[in-house]
Every structure is written in structure tokens, then in C-alpha cells.
């Protein structure tokens, strides 16, 4: 051990046992002081019992083991009554028994085995008193005894981790107290050292001397390599820690020697009182380790501090990193969540393919929803990827991108040709494996490099909805274009079709004006003007019909009608034109058609009129037109199914034209049709009416050979005698409005038809009546007496002498009407609105007028209101006077409204004089009858 280490150890050991010494001295001093106090008190107490009581209180407070009254010869009597004699073998004062006043002493005793403490080892502090008696025992000192273990406990020596020993020894080495449990085996420590240590005889002598009583002046300090000692007066420098205990001098030292096999530090502390020495024995190993421990503790403390700082910094760093990681993790989690939500819910499928292996590493979960491919787990990516690839490869719809052709994008060669951060795009159709639905995808592949690894990201964007929308938009655009074209065509057609007759009209009017004196030419020009006007009127009517059809406002006016009459009327109306072209026109009725059907009689008539007028128009002079009606087998209860066939041997139609036959304003333009007038709306109207009635129209035609139209229609059947309630019920079931039982207009048409029973056709023979034995009626236009016919015509239109009340707000129209009536020999009263009509009619006597000609749209009161008002009047003829509507409102609804208002007939403007006269004649003739 080096000198420094020795000094360090010696200092440390010395300091420890200085504290022990101070503790022991303090105990002794306190007890001496206590004995002094008690002595004074005891001297004042009068009885032994008082002394006992007092000492018991003191024992309870001080917790001493025994209190002794001691005689000059060492005998004692304890407060518990124990008697004996102290051996005083372990006394620190040779004159312990020479108790002078205030003489104090300390000694250790082993009590006899009897008595209260039964052979215990105790330490006794004594204090000389005046001679006194206690319980008959004469004493000259008092003493207080503590069990050695109590002393040890009070000293509480646990330095050096319990590895050191501490003794209180007498100056001659006698061990009186060992403060360590299990150490009480030494009898005399000087003897022990003498035998067991390597101290020389001289050293032993010096040591013994060191333990002897001394004075400050005789004290001799030692300072060698293994022994240091110092003597000091108490209160001097370096001894302050044990000052105040009433001692005068203090010698302490430490010597290092070998005891047995072990190097040991022996620290002694001679208090120079009574010859007791506090002895500390610490092995070199323990003391050195302690010294080293102190050295190391500083280093360790620094290291610990540094380590703690490092750890703290690391922890902070770790926490910061952790927080960062947590933030990143949270952000990543949010991103993943967001990606999951997006990838699940958007219509884009994401596929990640490893560039090296070509294996799928990720497939977004929406692949199940979009393509019906189930992902059984992460390991299923490859399977799904392969399916997608194979599907795409088979259905690849390449779109050029960046001028590079794309054959099979999944081909690894193709992939490898994609530069990093470049991409390909193409269209592809996939079938949903679950629903079988075909979906259209815009697919992209991006070549990316992630940590030196080539990856291909496939994005399959569902563009089905977009594509459908595009298709719809394209269709809508086409429709819009078509509509625009149609509009242009319509305007063009209208311009042409209106200008053509108008040109004829204006042209012939000019000619008429120039040739007004030439009756023949006037008649010829007038006839041509009338023809052109008729065409113009037809055009207007057709345009109006077409307009209503296309606007969806066309409604069928369902009512009972006799089909046979309708057929006859149609035949009659068209036979005139056929006769004019010397065509052979026949109506064939197959089956019993004497039935009443429920339907729109006017539309049915219009269908066949259109077909027949076309047949007549496009069949050359002398051609054959067959109009056949046959009753088809009943397929539905209470319904009658009829087939109408219009066949001609006319010019026919080309196949191309047949494709657009039913489109408005479509007319075949060739040499044959060049001089044939037409609006191009007839077939479109016809087709729409047939469709409206739930029927079917078909056509067969060949150019130069003729055309055959077939129309199949079904009508609810009503027997001729059926009650109106049934009809109403049927109509109501069809959602049709009410039915009028009386319809003078039908009668009129019928009549008109009747009037045509004598058609003239020079090219054909004809029969007057139908074959009675056959269902087939044959009406034939043939030669009849023209004059007779003329007479009948004149009679039918004769209105001369009749007196009319006319209402017309338009002065020009009123004038025309007035002139026409004048021309026909009729008279009239003219007013300009419905109210005036009512007023005048009400004012004048009944039967003043034969009929009322009523415009519908008038100011103040319209014609319909006026008609209703008149019918409501309580005038004699107010219910029967014929009221005829004359209006430009020429639709079926307008006719119906007029009839509903109580009018008897409807005449559309422009006025057809003959027709008007026929109607008026008919109405008034009947009345006249």
C-alpha cells in the first residue's frame, strides 16, 4: 500500500472511530451529569420508598438497567434489592473505590448468575457521594449500569459495512466491550496483537505506551509509513469534534500491521480518562476498499452524473424520436386508413407489381367490389394480379401513347421498356367475375423505383359511367343534330311546300286578273287556284297534326263507331279523286263488319284516307287500288281485330326510301314523283296514329310494281244495341272522356259519303250495289248521269233564302262569309262577338234565324260560351236552332269542344264553300222538314 493510500485509509479510519469515541464519551458524561443531579435529589428524599419511586421514574426515562448504591469496599445494593460486590477487574481507574467528592468512574462488570440481571455484562458509571444510607446499606457512591448490548446499540457502529471491529479496552489491553455482535471473543487485545500480529516488541511497547494515561506535554506524535499518532489538548485545532465532553487531552493514532494472515488497520483513541481506549480494527482490504470506494465514489459519481446526463439525453432523444415515430406512425396510419378508405371506395384499382419477379405485391381491396375478385389474404395478391393481367391481355384495347405501340402491356419486355417515372395508358374492358357485368377501364402503369427496387404500379380506373355518359352525349348530340337538320329540313320543306301552291295561287290570280273577261280561262284558273289552296290547306292540317303528335299532345277521342260506315265514308271521300284519275278503286269487306267498335273514328278515317290518297296520288291514271278490310280471328275477349290493306299497282318505292318512309317530310324524289304534290307528312302522321292505337303498319313496295300497306288494328267491340252504360264503362276503363250519343257531324260525313255513291270512272265497270250473297261489298266508281248528279249536288248545297246570324270578329273573314252567303242567296245579321250574338238572338223573335254561324275565338264572349248561353236560353228554338262553329281551330279537340258546347257542326277555316253549304243545307233542310 502506498503512502498516499495509507494516509487516506488512516484518516478515514481515524475519523470513523473518533465519532465512536465521542458517542461513548457522551454517554458516560451524560450519565455522570445525571448521577450528579440524582445524587442531589436523593439527598433530599426522606425515605427509601421515596428514593425507590424517584429512581423508578428515572429508570423509565433513561432506560438504564440497574441503579447501584456502592460502599467503599465495592459492595453494592441495587434499587431492585440485588446485593453483591463488584470485582472491579475491568475498571478504568485504579482508585475507583477512593470515592472523593465528585469523583467519577466507569467500569465494566459481569454480574453473578443470580439476581435481577443474572450474570449479564454491564457497564457502570459511578459518582462519589456523601456517605449515606439506603435501606440500611451505607454507601459512598452511586452508579448506573447499562447492559453491554444497550451500550453497543447506543453507539450504533456500523461503519465499513459491518466488516470492522470496535472495542473499548483498558490501557493494558483488556477488552471490556466489543461493539460488534459475535466479536466478544477477545480478552486482551494487546496480548492478542502481541501474539497474532507482526508488530515488533518495540512497536508493541510503543503501542502500550500510547494507550497509557498521558499529558499533553508528554504526548509524543508518531508519523511513520505505517503508524501515525497525535496528541492534542481538547479544544485545540483538529479536536473540535470531541470537545465539550469535559476531557482535557486526547491522543489518537492509527497503525497498520498484519494480524495472522491479514493486513489490518488499528485505530486507537486514548481519552486520557480512567485508562480506556476506543479501538477500531479494520482489515486492510475493507479500509482500502473503503478508501478506494471514496476515490471511486467521486469518479463513479461523476460517471453516474455523466451517465445520467447521457441517459437523460438519450431518453430525451429517444422520446423525441419516439414522438416523431409516433407522429409518423400516426400520420402513416392515417395515410394508410385514408388509402384504405379511398382504395376501398373509389373506382380505381391499384396493383403493385415487383419488377424483378413480376409478382403482385398489393391489390387494392375494391377489386372485389369492382371486379368480383375476392382477396383471400395478402398472399392472394399474386393470384388476383395474374387474373387481372390475363384479362387485360385478352381484352387489351390499345391506345397509342407517346407514339409507342402497345400490344400487351403485361409483357415483361414491354414493362422493362418503360422508363422510370414514365407510364403507359390504355383502355381495357373487364368483366365483373361476380355479376358478369362488363366494365370499361382506363388502365395506367407507372414505373417507379423504390429503394433501388423496380416496381410497377397499375391503376385501373373504372370509366364505365364516364363512357356511358359520353355515349349518351354523343347520342344526344346526334339527336340534336338530327333535330336541327329536321328543323332545317322542315323549314326548307315548309318553305318549298308552302311556296309551291302559293306560287300557283298568286300566279293564277295574276292570270285571272289579266284574263278576267275570258270566262273559260277564269274558270280554269279558279279551279287551279282552288286546287293549290286545297294543297296548302292539306299541308297546314298535316303540319298541325304532326306538331301535335310530336309534342305528345295527341289524344285519341274514343267513341262508338260503326266501322262499316267509316269505311264507306273513306271510300266515298277518296273515290272522287280516284275517279278523277280513272283509277279502278275497290273496297273489299271480308267478314261481318256490321259492328260497332270503340275508337277514334276521325283518326281511323284519317289513317285510311292518307293511305288511300297516297295510293291514288302515286298510282298512274288507270291504275288499280284495292282497299280490303278483313276481320281477323279474335285473340282477345271483347276486342275485334281488323286488317286493312291498301294495295296499288302504282310507282312503288325504292328500298332506300322505305327505310325513311315514316319520317316527316320524307318524300322520294325521282321522275315519277316529280310532279306529284305532297307534304311528306302523311305517312309520318299515319304511322303515329297507328302506333297510338296499338296497331301495326307494314309496307311492301317495289319500284314500278306498286305498294301494299297493311294495318292491323284492334278495337273494343260494342254491339249495336248495347246500352250506353256499357260503352261508358269501356271508355272509362280506357281512360277516355265521355261519349256523345248524338253526333250530327257523323251523320253529315255519312251523308257526304252517301253523296258519292255515284262515282264516275270511264275505265272501269261498276256495280250499283254490293253482292247480297257475299260479305264483300263492292263500290265502284262508274258512269252515272252527270246532270242528275249535279242536281243532287246543288240541292245539297242550296242555302238560298235562309237567314243566318253570323258572328265574326275579323272583318275580312266576316266580309268573305257575308259575300259567300250572298252569293248563295242567303241573308244574314252580322255581329262581332258572342255577347252580341246572344243579345241579338234573345232580342229577336224565335225562328228569326235558320242557323247561327259562330266564330269561336272572339272578344268579350267567345263562341263556345255564346253557344252554351243560347242553349240555356228559354226561348222557343234556343235548343234546336243550328249553331255551326266556323273556326281556324281545326283539331279534333276543337271539334269536340264545339260539339260539347252545344254546337251542331264544325267548319274549319279557310272555308270550303261547298262543304259549308252542304252542312248548312243539311242542318236547315232537316229542320225545315
Amino acid at each position: 500500500m502506498e503512502a498516499d493510500t495509507f494516509d487516506e485509509c488512516a484518516t478515514h479510519v481515524t475519523e470513523v472511530y473518533k465519532q465512536v469515541t465521542k458517542s461513548f464519551v457522551s454517554i458516560v458524561m451524560q450519565n455522570w451529569q445525571a448521577l450528579s443531579d440524582w445524587n442531589e435529589r436523593i439527598a433530599l428524599l426522606k425515605t427509601d420508598d421515596d428514593i425507590d419511586n424517584y429512581l423508578n421514574t428515572r429508570r423509565n426515562f433513561w432506560r438504564f438497567s440497574q441503579f447501584f448504591f456502592i460502599s467503599d469496599d465495592g459492595h453494592y445494593l441495587s434499587m431492585d434489592g440485588d446485593k453483591g460486590k463488584f470485582s472491579l477487574a475491568n475498571s478504568f481507574s485504579d482508585d475507583v473505590l477512593n470515592f472523593d467528592r465528585n469523583k467519577k468512574s466507569v467500569f465494566f462488570e459481569e454480574l453473578p448468575p443470580h439476581g435481577t440481571l443474572k450474570g449479564s455484562s454491564i457497564a457502570v458509571a459511578t459518582f462519589a457521594t456523601k456517605r449515606a444510607t439506603y435501606k440500611g446499606f451505607e454507601y459512598s457512591a452511586i452508579g448506573v449500569g447499562y447492559l453491554n448490548e444497550d451500550i453497543i446499540r447506543i453507539l450504533s457502529i456500523d461503519s465499513f459495512g459491518g466488516a470492522a471491529s470496535c472495542f473499548i479496552v483498558s490501557s493494558n489491553g483488556l477488552v471490556v466491550l466489543s461493539t460488534k455482535v459475535g466479536e466478544n471473543i477477545f480478552k486482551n487485545y494487546l496480548t492478542y496483537l502481541e501474539q497474532a500480529s507482526n508488530l515488533s516488541s518495540e512497536e508493541m511497547l510503543q503501542l502500550k505506551k500510547e494507550w497509557q494515561p498521558f499529558t499533553v506535554t508528554t504526548g509524543h506524535d508518531i508519523n511513520t509509513m505505517r503508524w501515525k499518532s497525535k496528541t492534542a489538548a481538547l479544544g485545540g485545532q483538529g479536536t473540535t469534534n470531541i470537545s465539550g465532553v469535559g476531557l482535557t487531552a486526547y491522543k489518537w493514532g492509527v497503525i497498520r500491521c498484519k494480524i495472522g494472515k491479514e493486513q489490518t488497520f488499528i485505530s486507537y483513541h486514548n481519552m486520557n480518562y480512567g485508562g480506556f481506549v476506543v479501538l477500531g480494527v479494520v482489515s486492510d482490504k475493507v479500509a482500502g476498499s473503503r478508501a478506494r470506494q471514496i476515490q471511486h465514489s467521486t469518479i463513479v459519481t461523476l460517471l453516474k452524473t455523466f451517465t445520467v446526463l447521457i441517459i437523460f439525453m438519450l431518453i430525451q432523444l429517444h422520446k423525441t424520436n419516439k414522438r416523431q415515430r409516433q407522429k409518423s406512425a400516426v400520420a402513416l396510419k392515417y395515410k394508410e386508413l385514408l388509402f384504405d378508405i379511398l382504395s376501398t371506395n373509389v373506382d380505381d384499382i391499384f396493383v403493385l407489381v415487383d419488377g424483378a419477379t413480376g409478382r403482385g405485391e398489393y391489390v387494392s381491396p375494391n377489386v372485389e367490389r369492382l371486379l368480383g375478385l375476392k382477396l383471400e389474404g395478402n398472399s392472394d395478391y399474386e393470384r388476383v394480379t395474374q387474373i387481372l393481367m390475363s384479362t387485360a391481355a385478352n381484352n387489351l384495347e390499345p391506345t397509342s401513347h407517346r407514339d409507342r405501340p402497345v400490344k400487351n402491356i403485361y409483357d415483361s419486355k414491354v414493362l422493362s421498356n418503360i422508363a422510370i417515372d414514365d407510364n403507359y395508358q390504355w383502355n381495357c374492358e373487364h368483366t365483373n367475375y361476380s355479376t358478369g357485368e362488363k366494365r370499361y377501364y382506363r388502365e395506367s402503369v407507372y414505373h417507379v423505383n423504390i429503394q433501388d427496387t423496380n416496381k410497377y404500379v397499375f391503376v385501373l380506373s373504372d370509366r364505365t359511367a364516364e363512357r356511358e355518359m359520353m355515349q349518351k352525349m354523343e347520342a344526344a348530340l346526334t339527336v340534336a343534330k338530327n333535330a336541327n337538320n329536321a328543323k332545317s329540313n322542315f323549314l326548307s320543306n315548309m318553305s318549298h311546300d308552302i311556296r309551291t301552291p302559293m306560287n300557283a295561287i298568286t300566279g293564277f290570280i295574276i292570270l285571272l286578273d289579266k284574263n278576267a273577261r275570258d270566262e273559260k280561262k277564269v274558270h280554269e284558273y279558279t279551279k287551279k287556284i282552288t286546287s293549290a289552296a286545297s294543297l296548302l290547306l292539306e299541308l297546314i292540317n298535316n303540319v298541325l297534326d304532326m306538331s301535335k303528335i310530336e309534342s305528345g299532345k295527341t289524344q285519341l277521342s274514343v267513341e262508338p263507331f260503326e266501322i262499316q260506315k267509316v269505311l264507306d265514308d273513306v271510300y266515298t271521300v277518296n273515290s272522287e279523286a280516284a275517279r278523277a284519275k280513272a283509277q279502278f278503286f275497290e273496297l273489299h269487306k271480308i267478314g261481318n263488319l256490321n259492328i260497332v267498335l270503340l275508337g277514334d273514328k276521325l283518326r281511323v278515317s284519317q289513317i285510311f284516307t292518307n293511305l288511300l290518297s297516297n295510293a291514288i296520288k302515286y298510282t298512274p291514271t288507270g291504275g288499280i287500288i284495292d282497299f280490303t278490310v278483313e276481320k281477323l280471328p279474335q285473340t282477345k275477349a271483347l276486342y275485334t281485330k281488323l286488317r286493312f290493306t291498301v294495295k296499288d299497282n302504282g310507282i312503288g318505292m325504292s328500298e332506300d326510301f322505305l327505310k325513311t318512309l315514316y319520317e316527316p317530310f320524307m318524300r322520294e324524289k325521282n321522275k315519277a314523283t316529280k310532279n306529284i304534290q305532297g307534304t311528306g307528312l302523311g305517312m309520318a302522321i299515319t304511322k303515329n296514329f297507328v302506333d297510338l292505337m296499338g296497331g301495326v303498319i307494314s309496307v311492301k313496295s317495289k319500284e314500278g310494281e306498286g305498294t301494299t300497306f297493311t294495318v292491323d288494328l284492334s278495337f273494343p267491340t260494342q254491339s249495336k244495341q248495347s246500352d250506353p252504360a256499357t260503352a261508358v264503362a269501356l271508355n272509362a276503363a280506357d281512360g277516355v272522356s265521355d261519349v256523345s250519343d248524338e253526333n250530327d257531324a257523323l251523320d253529315i260525313k255519312k251523308t257526304t259519303a252517301d253523296s258519292g255513291e255515284s262515282p264516275t270512272n270511264k275505265n272501269h265497270n261498276h256495280a250499283d250495289s254490293a253482292d247480297s250473297g257475299s260479305d264483300k261489298n263492292l263500290l265502284q266508281n262508274g258512269d252515272k248521269d252527270a246532270s242528275n248528279s249535279k242536281k243532287q249536288d246543288e240541292s245539297a248545297t242550296d242555302i238560298s233564302g235562309l237567314h243566318f246570324l253570323i258572328a265574326e270578329d275579323n272583318e275580312l273573314n266576316a266580309e268573305i262569309l257575308q259575300e259567300l252567303l250572298k252569293m248563295k242567296g242567303a241573308t244574314f245579321e252580322s255581329v262581332s262577338n258572342g255577347k252580341e250574338v246572344c243579345d241579338l238572338y234573345a232580342k229577336l223573335p224565335q225562328k228569326t234565324f235558320d242557323a247561327i254561324l259562330m266564330d269561336v275565338q272572339m272578344p268579350i264572349m267567345d263562341g263556345l260560351a255564346a253557344a252554351k248561353a243560347i242553349r240555356k236560353m228559354k226561348k222557343g228554338d234556343s235548343k234546336s236552332i243550328p249553331i255551326v262553329a266556323m273556326t281556324a281551330n281545326a283539331f279534333a279537340e276543337d271539334i269536340k269542344n264545339a260539339l260539347d258546347a252545344g254546337m251542331n257542326a264544325h267548319i274549319a277555316k279557310p272555308l270550303d264553300l261547298d262543304a259549308m253549304c252542304q252542312i248548312l243545307a243539311s242542318l236547315t233542310k232537316r229542320k225545315r222538314k
Binding site: 455482535v181 459475535g182 477477545f186 480478552k187 496480548t191 497474532a196 494480524i259 495472522g260
Partner: protein
């Protein structure tokens, strides 16, 4: 064939021996059987002579070698030919079931003359006296070289921890703390076990019932751990030949011994530094117990099958008479067995330690009450332990095994 004949002859030799001896015995005399070594005791020879002399009766004394006696004992007591057995609890007497094979003597007049420790020693579990103790009442203690201790400034330990410190200190200054021999081997463990089971009777019952084993008794484990530490630290000087030269020379400081053997510490020849007067005793403190072991007293047991019960009891009364036993034990170094025993010589060391002896003495309980206990087997195990051949746990395990 010759070998077979030789084996046969050796096998039947003891039988012929007994028969031959019997044939020479006095059929009217009491027959006393015991170990041949025991019959060599001076006080026994004295009492037998006195009996013969005083009563005019003869005694048939049949001595057996040590290795055969225990084996023959069960058969012997089953016969009517054996009246009295000289035996003690230090052997497996409990296995012989004394309550069935020996006559209870609790009500004999001399019972009250026995000192307490002697009475305990000759009683069974139910405190029935089964024999008359007639043996020196040796004390098992730790004999230490007091003069050597003084020389080194040391004193006797008073606690187990002080005992360990003492051993450390002695060893540190170059003195081997403890001497042990084959004859004293059992003192390393048995006195401590006696003290443990004397106080822990419940533990003893549990051990005998097999509910627990040795390793589950911490105090027992501590004893054997201490023994093993002695071996490990080099604190034991083992002398198989029971030579005490090392003790006398001062190379060894202590010895666990009965006073019987302490008598052998007689180095007054001047050849050695220390003599018997230099030795003092302190308690045995192997483990946590502080104890002296009272000796296993050999006693005269009357066989339940004797046909001379009155004569046998008369013999015991003769021995228990104060005048007779004082003459027999005159000068014998022992503690008292009988209260009126006045002629024995108690060693000064024991006299000096009388207070401690009174405080810490325990009867020999382990050998008597531990079921299956065998001192011979235990010694063998402890020998292995002190030779560091086995661990403490292994020793405890072997101890349990040895009782089966």
C-alpha cells in the same frame, strides 16, 4: 467342498459359542448380556464383584462383540435365557420396542434418586423408566485450550456467531480451530440435533411420520451447513486415530468431546506444551443452538421374558443403592447420575462451567426418538460431508434415506 464346509462352520460358530458358554452357566444365576467393551468398565466390574460378594449369588455375564450384539439382541430378548441386557439409547434401541421387550421400572424405589437428565435418558417417549442407568454421565462439550486463548488474548465464545468469529480468528493467526476424530464425529451434529428436537417435538413427530424430511427443517440444515463450512474453511483437523497430540501441542485449539475422552487429555508427561488442566469447556455451537449433550447412559434393562424377574429387580436395587454405586464409581470422572452420588470426580473444567451446563444441557433425543436413526450411518454421511465428498443437500438426502 472344503470352502462350503468352512463357510458352514463359520456360520454356526456363534451358536456353538453361546451354547458352549450356556452349558457352563449357572442356571440359577442372572444372565446379563451386553457389549464386551462395555463390560470392561471399571465401575461395572466393581458392581458385579460387589453383588457376587455381598449376595453370594453368581452372575452369568455374556459379552458380545460390537458388530454382532445388535444383530443378536432381538433374538436374545425373545428367549427366556437372558434376564438383563446392558444397553443404551445410543444404539437403535427404539427399534427393539422397549415397551414390549423390557419391564417398566418407573415405580422402583430408586427412580427418585436419579438426577433429572439421567432419568430423561433412561425413559421412553411416555416417560416410563425402562432401565437403571449405570454408566458415567459424560458431557458432550467444546473443550478449548484456555491457556492458549489467554496467550492470544482470546476468550470462549458465548454465542454461535462468536464461535464462528473465534474459529476465524484462530485460523487467521495460524491455529486450527477444531479437532475431530471418528469417536467424536457425532458431536459435530448430534448435540445440535438433540437441542433442536428436544424443543421442537412437533417437528420431530412430523419427521417420524414422513410429513417432512431433514432438508425442510432450517435449523437442521444450518447445522450441516456449519459443518460443511468448517470443512471448507479448513477449520477441522480430522484425526481418525483419535490422537490428541495436535491438541496438546497447541496446533489445534478446540475439540468436541465427552468428558470420557477428555480424561484422555493427559499430557502431564511434559512432552507437550499443554496439559489437561489447560482445557476448559464451552457449549457446542454448531448451528444456531447452544448446547451440551448429556451422555447416552447405558442401563440395565430387564427382559420381559425373564423367568427371574424378582431376582433381576433385586440386582438393580443392589446397584441403585447409594453405598454400592458410590463404591463402584469412586474416582470415576463423571457427572452425577444419582443424586446421592458423591464419589465421582467431576473435571474442573465442568465445574467451572456448571452455570452454563445447567443452562444449556439437553438430553440425547435425536438418537432415541428419530425413527430409523442410526449413529453409524450418520457418522458415515458426516464423514463424507467433512471430506467435502457431498454437499449439504446431498447429506440431508442421504440422512433421510438412511432412516428408511
Amino acid at each position: 467342498m472344503k470352502k462350503l464346509l468352512l463357510i458352514l462352520l463359520i456360520g454356526i460358530a456363534p451358536f456353538f459359542t453361546v451354547c458352549c458358554k450356556r452349558s457352563m452357566l449357572d442356571p440359577n444365576a442372572l444372565t446379563i448380556v451386553g457389549l464386551s467393551s462395555d463390560f470392561q468398565k471399571l465401575y461395572l466390574r466393581r458392581i458385579f464383584s460387589a453383588y457376587k460378594r455381598e449376595t453370594g449369588r453368581s452372575l452369568n455375564i455374556i459379552a458380545y462383540p460390537n458388530d454382532r450384539f445388535e444383530k443378536q439382541l432381538k433374538r436374545l430378548v425373545a428367549t427366556t435365557g437372558v434376564d438383563i441386557v446392558l444397553h443404551g439409547y445410543d444404539s437403535d434401541l427404539e427399534a427393539l420396542d422397549p415397551s414390549k421387550n423390557f419391564v417398566y421400572l418407573t415405580k422402583e424405589w430408586w427412580a427418585n434418586d436419579l438426577v433429572q437428565l439421567a432419568r430423561l435418558t433412561v425413559s421412553d417417549k411416555s416417560n416410563n423408566i425402562i432401565g437403571l442407568p449405570f454408566w458415567e454421565n459424560s458431557i458432550g462439550a467444546c473443550y478449548y485450550n484456555k491457556r492458549m486463548f489467554d496467550k492470544f488474548g482470546l476468550k470462549a465464545a458465548s454465542t454461535p456467531s462468536e464461535f464462528i468469529t473465534l474459529c476465524e480468528t484462530l485460523y487467521n493467526i495460524g491455529v486450527t480451530p477444531m479437532l475431530t476424530s471418528a469417536a467424536t464425529m457425532h458431536l459435530l451434529y448430534q448435540p445440535s440435533m438433540d437441542a433442536i428436537f428436544y424443543k421442537e417435538t412437533e417437528t420431530l413427530r412430523a419427521l417420524n411420520l414422513g410429513v417432512i424430511n431433514y432438508s425442510e427443517i432450517p435449523a437442521i440444515k444450518k447445522v450441516f451447513t456449519t459443518i460443511r463450512r468448517f470443512a471448507n474453511e479448513g477449520w477441522l483437523y480430522q484425526n481418525a486415530n483419535a490422537g490428541y497430540e495436535k491438541l496438546w501441542s497447541g496446533d489445534v485449539a478446540m475439540m468436541l468431546s465427552h468428558q470420557t475422552w477428555s480424561a484422555a487429555i493427559n499430557s502431564d508427561s511434559g512432552l507437550y506444551e499443554y496439559c489437561k488442566d489447560d482445557f476448559a469447556v464451552m457449549p457446542i455451537m454448531m448451528g444456531d443452538e447452544i448446547t451440551y449433550e448429556t451422555g447416552d447412559l447405558k442401563m440395565f434393562l430387564i427382559s420381559m421374558n425373564t423367568q427371574k424377574l424378582l431376582l433381576a429387580k433385586d440386582f438393580l436395587s443392589f446397584c441403585a443403592t447409594a453405598e454400592n454405586y458410590n463404591k463402584a464409581f469412586d474416582g470415576i470422572p463423571t457427572n452425577k447420575v444419582f443424586k446421592e452420588q458423591k464419589t465421582v470426580t467431576t473435571p474442573p473444567a465442568l465445574v467451572a462451567a456448571r452455570n452454563s451446563l445447567n443452562q444449556y444441557s439437553h438430553p440425547s433425543v435425536a438418537s432415541r426418538y428419530i425413527k430409523g436413526y442410526s449413529a453409524t450411518k450418520m457418522d458415515t454421511i458426516i464423514l463424507s460431508l467433512t471430506k467435502k465428498g457431498i454437499t449439504v443437500d446431498e447429506a440431508l438426502l442421504q440422512m433421510d434415506e438412511s432412516r428408511k
